[in-house]
């Protein structure tokens, strides 16, 4: 099934209206100038395992590219949620903090993680995948590689 702004790649939905950080599978959706919503795509979630807990840095915390803005726990494994942008935490999704399964069920919607105020330069956004064709190619290649390596199920 095809819908505007969406692709379905090897069984995974892919929202094409936002930007992606290729290594961490974090998405960034600019909601207004200087403000963005951040979440994790379904492949990132799949590799994490069944999510048990999510926790986030408090509102007001500075964000830096490559540094954690929170932690996730799955199968007793705690790992960082790595920020794709610099700026500041403007809000956190209390609903997903209370029920981590929301990020699995609706990763592009109600399962968003934090809202960020972006650094004024905005230059980091240019380093993220933004072109739908480029995003689709990356997602396709990544899934194929992960399946070949057994990282995600066939």
């Amino acid at each position: 099934m095809e819908m505007a702004g969406w692709a379905f790649v090897a069984g995974f939905p892919l929202a094409l209206d936002r930007r992606y950080e290729a290594e961490t599978h974090m998405w960034v959706l600019v909601t207004e100038p200087g403000r963005a919503r951040i979440g994790m795509d379904p492949v990132g979630i799949e590799t994490s395992g069944t999510l048990a807990q999510l926790s986030f840095a408090p509102v007001g915390t500075e964000l830096a590219v490559g540094r954690p803005f929170g932690q996730l726990e799955a199968a007793k494994f705690v790992g960082p949620l790595v920020s794709p942008v610099s700026g500041v935490v403007l809000g956190v999704n209390d609903a997903v903090a209370a029920n981590a399964g929301l990020a699995e069920r609706d990763p592009y919607g109600a399962g968003w993680l934090i809202e960020a105020g972006l650094d004024e330069s905005g230059g980091e956004l240019a380093g993220l995948l933004a072109d739908p064709a480029e995003i689709t190619a990356w997602f396709t290649t990544k899934i194929a590689r992960y399946r070949l390596e057994g990282v995600i199920a066939q």
Partner: protein
Amino acid sequence: MSEPLRVIDFGCCPPLRSQTLWHAIGYGVSAGAPAALSFVRPAAPYVCVGYHRGLDEVDLEYCREHGLPVLRRMVGGGPVYLDADQLLFQICLPAGAVSPARQQALHLLLEPAVAAFRAVGVPAGLDEDLEICLGDTKVCGHGAGQIRDAVVVCGNLIEQFDHARAVRVLAIADPAQRDQTLALMRRFVAATPVDPVAFRAAMTTAYAAALGLDPVPGQMTGTERAALAELDELFVSDAWLAGPARRAAPPAAEPVARQVKVRAGVWTLSATRDGARVAAALVKGRVHRVRLYDRGLDGSTGQAEQALIGLPLTAVAPALAAFGDPGRRLAAAFGAAEPGRL
């Protein structure tokens, strides 16, 4: 030539250091130090809480009265009671050295521990929940996490286990649930009293072989010693002990519910709602033991309890419906304990 695997035996250490030493190794490996397999034995008993878990799961008053420190680790899992009869071990690698799939990474990093158990005569296996088990009995607790850019998996050789104290340190208000938790812990968690020296040697052999590394006696690096000082301070701070921002509060104070995980697939729960109270032991999704209370049940409490034994959780509410309004209240209390999340 293989990369080195530092093997570091920290010996017997105070509770705080039995945590901070190996966390410091995580900082060091993250900064480029070689991978490490480390061992430490707590010199005194204490309680250790997983990164995300609430302090309200621990009976802090009991711990205070009995001089048990409570520490929070950076890796996952629930609150655990640790003492000198447990040899704690940790394997620490650069994050890039393991699969990005956490289950796969855990599997890779727990299998050598299983091999070590087997090498010292314990025919353990890794079950589908990634628990190290002897039959269906858990013989090794584990937790895992990424500390900066290093992955750490920790576990323990349980030489003796004080089941009663392991349950007593937990905050469990309902006496029936406490009894059920202790019974299940005695049934599903066991010690394996093997020679710890032989176990350390077997662990070293198994991890070196599995990871293709060359085991060498190791020391902490300067970075790790500096991190240790920071971690010693951090771990005793109130802010760290409080944990990350707690999950959003439930919508109402009532009903009161409590779940306790004994091992994967083995839980107890208790809940109260509208005067009805349930305390149940669950094994692999089925009711193993249950205590019910509702004034309206009159003389049929035993019958209702018996009716639930062996049922899958999905069948509990329909079975209780046969007991009229009290049964419906009890079903609501059961539901309030969120058994669907277990």
